[in-house]
């Protein structure tokens, strides 16, 4: 509840800065970029974590800021600004991973050993061969879980992006995580 209110305040502030920027206010534009940078950095770090590439989060942040500068006119005011900014960041991150031919780190990697032992089924599900597991879910459950748990998108942003109600999104996430936990349990028992 409190987190949603804080996100709403940030969203409202970002939107007003974007509107002022569109009217040619350079000072508002600088403030917008400065306040956006840590949010994008957090998204980038979350997205790069499964690949053990968090050290490159700053590069992704800078590429995303540049892309936002070049493509700000593609922001549609009917949708949340942060969802748009995160989508740009995600695109840059995927670009980076492709350029560097980075593959998903499997559970056999030592770095993930401790997390995989964690009793919490949510954490287990997310870190265990993430891509393969998420792809095995019926779309768009995998993408929704990735957006929320790895990229840090809010329920509201996801519901706008996928044109669904927030309660629908919550149900999809809950069922998706349950299926992932069941899959992991089934595979580790084999």
């Amino acid at each position: 509840m409190i987190e949603n209110k804080k996100t709403s305040d940030i969203e409202i502030r970002m939107r007003s800065l974007v509107m002022e920027t569109r009217f040619g206010n350079k000072s508002s534009y600088k403030t917008l970029l400065a306040e956006l940078a840590p949010i994008l950095r957090k998204s980038a770090m979350g997205g790069l974590a499964p690949f053990s590439r968090q050290a490159h989060a700053e590069d992704i942040t800078q590429e995303a800021l540049l892309a936002i500068h070049l493509k700000l006119h593609t922001y549609d005011e009917s949708m949340p600004f942060l969802a748009w900014a995160r989508a740009v960041t995600k695109h840059k991150m995927i670009d980076y991973l492709r350029r560097n031919k980075v593959r998903m780190v499997s559970i056999d990697d030592q770095d993930f050993g401790e997390l995989a032992d964690t009793a919490n089924p949510e954490v287990q599900a997310i870190t265990y061969d993430l891509k393969r597991l998420l792809d095995s879910l019926k779309p768009p459950a995998g993408q929704i879980i990735y957006a929320m748990k790895v990229e840090g998108a809010t329920i509201r942003e996801i519901s706008t992006q996928y044109n669904m109600t927030e309660s629908n999104i919550k149900v999809i996430i809950h069922r998706g995580l349950q299926k992932l936990a069941d899959k992991i349990k089934g595979e580790t028992q084999e």
């Binding site: 350079k26 400065a34 700053e58 800021l65 540049l66 493509k71 006119h73 695109h91 996928y162």
Partner: protein, 213 residues
Amino acid sequence: MTLRTDDLIQILSQSPRPHPPFGFLLLSFLLMAAFLVMTMAFIGIRPDVVALAPSGSFYQKTFLLAGIMTMGVFSLSGAALPVERARGPVSWAALIFLVLVFLGLIGREWMVSAPRDILNLFFLPNFGFCLFHVVLYGVVGAAVLTWLMRYYAPANTEKAARLIGLAAGGLAAIGYSVHCPVDSPSFVAVAYGLPIFGLLLACRLILPRFLNW
């Protein structure tokens, strides 16, 4: 925040932001006008259209081709954004409606006309002419639409490329159709459908690398 990112923000906040010179709708309208002018200037317009008394079958053909063109052109703006959105129900309904109308017209044609008469249409010079000109116009249209799409940020470059092919093919088909005297739905499906599909496929294979941002 590191100094480098601070510097970047300082530079970006003082730099002008690029803006696309047109929207997709306006550019598509201009392309269609250009194709119609090219047809008029180089190959000529069919007599009934020149006389401003086009046949009912011409309207029928134009409706079908305009449907394809509209689907492609109106989808371009959505595909140009970095956030991919699910296709709305109106879009699906329009697609299904167009397909059903097309199939219905073809079915009716095969019931009322002799199959030999329909098949003979494909041996006319018009068939090759259609294929060639729709592809020619379509390549030009695809190049222009790709130029504009580079100002944007398509979430899915392959989808954007396919839609460029579809829109360019539809615009090319409309631009050429004012010359072609053959209005048979079966002929339209093949003589226009083949190059449109070919453009869609070629754009899907070639354009994504040019649409990366």
